[in-house]
């Protein structure tokens, strides 16, 4: 535990920092939300720029994915099971909320394991779980499939859009001087990747989630960036170990393989996602229901894409707070509490 005095010291350092400008990208939606909740942005020196990167799974899920889910609900009569946030994300044609209003079955669950249980209890329904998320949540998606295999279910599958961070770190390296690495992702995958990245010139600090942990990670990052050498620091050692969780990694590896993935607003990043291996194709909704490629395109002035890359602030988007607000989100970043636009709106006193 850090004492009160050192909180004040860290804060003072971040408030008065007057070295070279530093750009720090946080790549975890929980960090984004917590930084706002703690009011940290307001006291940072103008020399420190925080960029809310692509770390909220709902925000980076492409609109075409929602189109696929809508297709499964309305054309194939599947029961969709999903985390609540995803229901409100606009697709190119409609959101799942609209699909539900048109008679599609959309059920909110709190875990993929509950979705599998639901499928088991409702053999007359074809249940699809909307599998989005990062390294932190993929293991539970895999456990749901493992349970479906165990239970001999033929009515449960995943519509995968699972993302992995390593590809994104490299793809976005030019947008930032250092990353605030997501503590929970690295609790699973360990720290080797970060060390390798530092050798290739990509810097970052693994951060925890309390106010003190965030201040400490930011202070360490600013100090190291200002010294000019690539670096890696694990500022969340109470949870993140070098090796991570080999058991979780092995479990995911058994069921899933790497694939290219589309990130909303950023485009396709090679090897930045995972999908079910061929031997589990029966649990892959895309294959099971021969989901066609979605080619809709919606014209919108929404700037979520460049917000996610840190090129503009949410408030610089022409729709922000006007056509786009948490009650009527136009872009995904306004949907989830962890989205940059939503956090900006709620804690910025926009409402």
């Amino acid at each position: 535990m850090t004492s009160i005095n050192s909180t004040a010291d860290m804060r003072n350092f971040l408030e008065t920092y007057d070295g070279p400008s530093v750009r720090i990208m946080e790549v975890c939606g929980t960090h984004t939300h917590e930084i706002f909740r703690q009011g940290i942005r307001r006291f940072l020196s103008p020399k420190i720029n925080l960029i809310s990167g692509p770390g909220c799974p709902v925000c980076v899920t492409p609109a075409a994915y929602i189109d696929e889910a809508v297709y499964l609900a309305l054309e194939k009569g599947c029961t969709l099971t999903t985390f609540g946030d995803l229901v409100r994300v606009p697709g190119n044609v409609k959101s799942l909320q609209q699909a539900r209003a048109e008679g599609g079955k959309v059920k909110i669950v709190y875990s993929p394991i509950d979705a599998e249980k639901y499928a088991k209890d409702h053999p007359e329904e074809q249940v699809v779980f909307l599998s989005v998320g990062f390294e932190t949540t993929t293991p539970s998606d895999v456990i749901a499939v493992k349970n479906a295999v165990r239970d001999g279910l033929d009515n449960f599958s995943l519509l995968t859009a699972n993302k992995t961070m390593p590809g994104a770190y490299e793809a976005m390296a030019s947008s930032t001087d250092a990353y605030l690495y997501p503590g929970h992702v690295h609790a699973i995958i360990g720290t080797k990747l970060c060390r390798d990245l530092a050798e290739r010139g990509v810097s970052g600090t693994i951060a925890g989630f309390t106010g003190d942990e965030l201040l400490a990670a930011l202070a360490v990052t600013v100090k190291n960036v200002s010294e000019g050498k690539p670096f890696f620091v694990n500022a969340y050692p109470r949870v993140v170990t070098d090796e991570g969780s080999p058991a979780a990694v092995a479990l995911v590896d058994k069921f899933m393989k790497s694939c290219d993935a589309e990130w909303r607003g950023i485009g396709v990043i090679p090897d930045s996602g995972v999908e079910l291996r061929d031997e589990y194709a029966a649990y892959d909704a895309r294959k099971k229901y021969s989901v066609p490629k979605m080619e809709f395109e919606r014209k919108t002035a929404c700037k979520c894409g460049i917000v996610l890359q840190g090129k503009i602030l949410p408030s610089e988007c022409p729709l922000f707070g006007k056509a786009c607000n948490p009650d009527h989100p136009v872009g995904a970043c306004m949907v989830s509490d962890e989205g940059a636009c939503s956090a900006f709106y709620m804690y910025g006193g926009q409402s």
Binding site: T7, A8, R11, F36, R37, Q38, G39, I40, R42, F43, Y110, S111, D114, T210, G211, D212, L214, L215, P326, D327, D337, M346, Y347, G348, G349, S351
Partner: protein, 334 residues
Amino acid sequence: MKEVITLAHGSGGRKTSELIGEIFRKNLGNEYFTADDAAVLPRPEGRIAMSTDGFIVSPWKYPGGNIGRLAVCGTVNDLACMGAKPLYLTCSYIIEEGLPIEDLELIAKTMGETAREAGVNIVAGDTKVAGKGQVDKIFITTAGVGVIGEGINTSGKFAKPGDKIIVTGDVGRHGTAILLARDEYGIEADVTSDCAPLWEPVRRALEVCPEMHVIRDATRGGVGTVLYEIADEAGVGIRVDRTSVPVAPEVSGVTGLLGLEPLYLACEGRMVMICPAEKAQAVVDVLKGTKYTEGATIIGEVTEDETGRVVMTTEVGGQTYLPKPGNELLPRIC
């Protein structure tokens, strides 16, 4: 087989009389309780306050209470907010056909006990039975009359810059208890509702501070919603020190997991009081020595700037607006 409520219990005939006699009179009875068409009551001296509230909480029974306790406390506390000593309540039951009679008896027993604890008489009632599926087990509406102490004038619009803001205990308990009782999240935690009648602590607070500006019970929408309402009504700003807002560890554990803001979770036994700064400590001291408000503390102050807003000072000394109440509040919390 368990005896259950049938449509005949609501017919106004013999079964209704049995219900009134064996369940309601037995548990709620007092000198004013009537089976006639209206209760006849002595006229209180002074201004009276009158309020009504409907209760549809699901599930009807939860750790720390049931809908009966809620129905008494809800109206008693609404009266107390105006500085009114609660005198009389009426209650109207809408019962779903098939409710076990023993459940109704438990609810009536709880209401009787809570009313006696609150020092209020339940004087009249009504019972209707609705068909299966038309009501979820039982809905209760209570109405109450109280008498306001001389010189007491409380209202959300009386908050003034410089005033201190007090909460009478830890926040978010009732909402968390209900959420857990629904068992939709697969989380187990030992959280009990804070539901309690608060006239006695209010009476004592008004004794040391008769010039109290605002008293409001933080029910649906929690303390956060109350603070925004007051900021709006009085045209002032509100500054809250987040570290001084009391939250029980088990409540913050659950809200942390689910991403909920404890300030927006319902309380059923907590008041927000706003009074002149020089009286605030005396009010807190007297509340601390009174049952149900032992956890009273000052959480912030009313400001002239930031009109209509609630500003939070955070754990790391940052400042941020408390996000306005969203649309995700739990339905059927009270």
